[in-house]
Symmetry: C2
DNA sequence: CTGAAAGCGCTTACAG
DNA sequence: CTGAAAGCGCTTACAG
């Protein structure tokens, strides 16, 4: 009788392993084994426990209890780039491609992904229920501290944080160099550059100027790209200081007109953002400039839109899927201090052609 | 002396709250309060404990222990549509838009998202460390059972699983009806339809046939769309049975040619997939058919590519971001049995025009 | 094959 | 303001 009362009460609350054990008249260990180590339990007994569990509406061992004991959570936290919210980073096609790569490795390992915002000062990193972290592109190295303190493996992307930190990088300098070399190889010598702005704000114009300080344009990886471009320009006898640069957010709509105004004679544009490269193509077309006959455009990153725009965009594949996959593999293996550098690839499509012969 | 030895040993392993408490010579409760309830601890004492924690490399309370006691995990699991892996679902732009909506609500509530694969038989749902679930479009209702057993709130998308289950739906029938009505309103009367195939396989052609069984074409929501289309056709004095239907995966490359071959006289195509709508536009252009002068195309779902293709795609906005946001709000609120129906919107762009006058 | 006991790391009333 | 005690739900050696 009391059994019955107890029973009904528990059903209202939440059935625990011990409740099942009591009703099935076995010990907690045996009940636990029924779910975690079925082979250890005599079939007949196992069946009885399973039946009782079902009748009581027991959902199986509560992961909250299991995890404390077992230690392993089986998921890794992915921290978005910059100080954006999760909903914002999901608007970046390159980040989503990167996530696909992480998911590839996690799917294989049976692990799950937790999406974490990169909000400084939040207790997010120190309290996330994960076995490790992947930090997408960030220069906020202090954000790494909580991860280090927790002694969890982590990897950082596109930034070398020292020999003891897992890092997966793309050789951005080589990528930009290849992009510009492709254009100079086609005979172009009058350029405009669209740089990448992290965070909100209006586009900024950096007009041509000798000894111009390019260290202000973007974060380290963006500066690497500009350095690579500068090398390719130098190889063709050109000086990047003579080229107008506009720095803008990927979605800014005023940047493309600004750049085309700032570089009126340009026959080629190199954009560090694929979105802006597409915007440049559209703005050029709006002005009656034919792409690629009158103007060649090269972007950076191979987003799905690059293939669909008209003409399709010549761009640099920065290998985000590979990047994510390898970063996840480092973390899932519990490794530390591994480094991997990916080589970007130039993908020639329809937005580039030989310089117009005048 | 023993203290010191103990200390160094612990540092190697993992510093726990009790280690900090011992070294700082306070009780576990006080040490705990320093992190969870700082105001309750005298500033001077708090400072001492914090210093000791720092010196010992204590990362703060281990979430594994905290969670068991506190009960709340602060994250919700999102289960992808169909039986795809996580990396696959991230390739779907509509799913990513949906995720953005979920993230919007989670960001606001300070919760995180866990990406869960929809693998039947896996213990994923029953062992995920989450406070609730969102099931994207699925008809595998048995997958809901583990969630129900765990007594966690959950929401299901685009499927009515009964009055006690949270559901967020888009009125797909109305959307398809609006799409077709737009075309018949432009005078079109010769059509082809591209239907949606869930799961792998070659495209299937359903040639015109009286009393053709459309219940085989896709899952319930796809059939709803066909029913809506049929209504709009009937309103214009047409019969959907006279129209060729090709059912294909969104990325299949042979589907667009197949449909244009199967509906040679069509002046308008309605596609249940935006990707395939774009594929139809490209295939038509390849054949020298002008879109929209000779052929109008309407899609379903407003993906970023729809805006970039040429001409931009007239399509139905199925409101995925709203869908995700509302589903997450239901779950975060711990509600049960709430229903919300979203009205899709026709977005007229450049891929539709009046029927050619011959 | 089964069960009694210890403990994963933490928090939370409660008593002082 | 501080601490002793109980317990969150589970698993894991270990003894029988």
């Amino acid at each position: 009788m009391t059994q019955i009362f107890f029973w009904r009460f528990e059903v209202q609350m939440a059935v625990r392993l011990i409740d099942v054990a009591r009703v099935a008249k076995v010990s907690r260990s045996t009940a636990s084994n029924v779910f975690a180590n079925p082979v250890r339990v005599r079939p007949k007994l196992r069946e009885r426990v399973e039946e009782v569990a079902k009748a009581m509406g027991y959902a199986g061992p509560d992961p909250k209890g299991r995890i404390l004991r077992a230690g392993k959570i089986n998921s890794i936290g992915v921290v978005g780039p910059g100080r954006w919210s999760v909903s914002d980073i999901l608007r970046s096609p390159v980040f989503v491609q990167f996530l696909q790569g992480v998911a590839l490795a996690c799917d294989e390992a049976g692990a799950t992904i937790v999406l974490l915002p990169d909000v400084p000062g939040s207790r997010g990193i120190s309290s996330a229920l994960v076995d490790g972290f992947i930090f997408s592109l960030t220069e906020q190295l202090e954000q790494l501290e909580p991860a280090r303190l927790r002694r969890l493996p982590f990897a950082i992307v596109d930034f070398d944080a020292g020999p003891d930190v897992n890092a997966v990088m793309v050789d951005a300098r080589a990528g930009a160099k290849a992009a510009v070399a492709h254009l100079t190889g086609l005979g172009h010598c009058r350029f405009g550059i669209m740089a990448f702005q992290r965070g909100a704000g209006p586009p900024m114009l950096f007009p041509p100027a000798a000894g111009r300080d390019l260290a202000k344009v973007g974060i380290l990886i963006d500066q690497e790209k500009l350095a690579g471009a500068a090398e390719a320009f130098a190889d063709a006898g050109l000086n990047i200081d003579d080229i107008a640069i506009v720095q803008a957010e990927p979605w800014d709509k005023t940047a493309a007109p600004l750049l085309l105004d700032a570089a009126p004679g340009a026959t080629a544009i190199f954009s560090l953002s694929a979105m802006q490269a597409i915007a440049v193509i559209r703005e050029a077309q709006r002005r009656g400039i034919n792409v690629p006959a009158d103007l060649s455009v090269v972007g950076f990153n191979d987003i799905p839109e690059a293939l669909l725009c008209n003409p399709p965009l010549t761009t640099i594949d920065s290998r985000p899927i590979e990047k994510g996959r390898i970063a996840a593999e480092f973390v899932l293996a519990g490794d530390h201090g591994r480094h991997h550098v990916l080589t970007p690839r130039l993908i020639v499509r329809g937005s580039t052609a030989r310089v117009p012969s005048r």
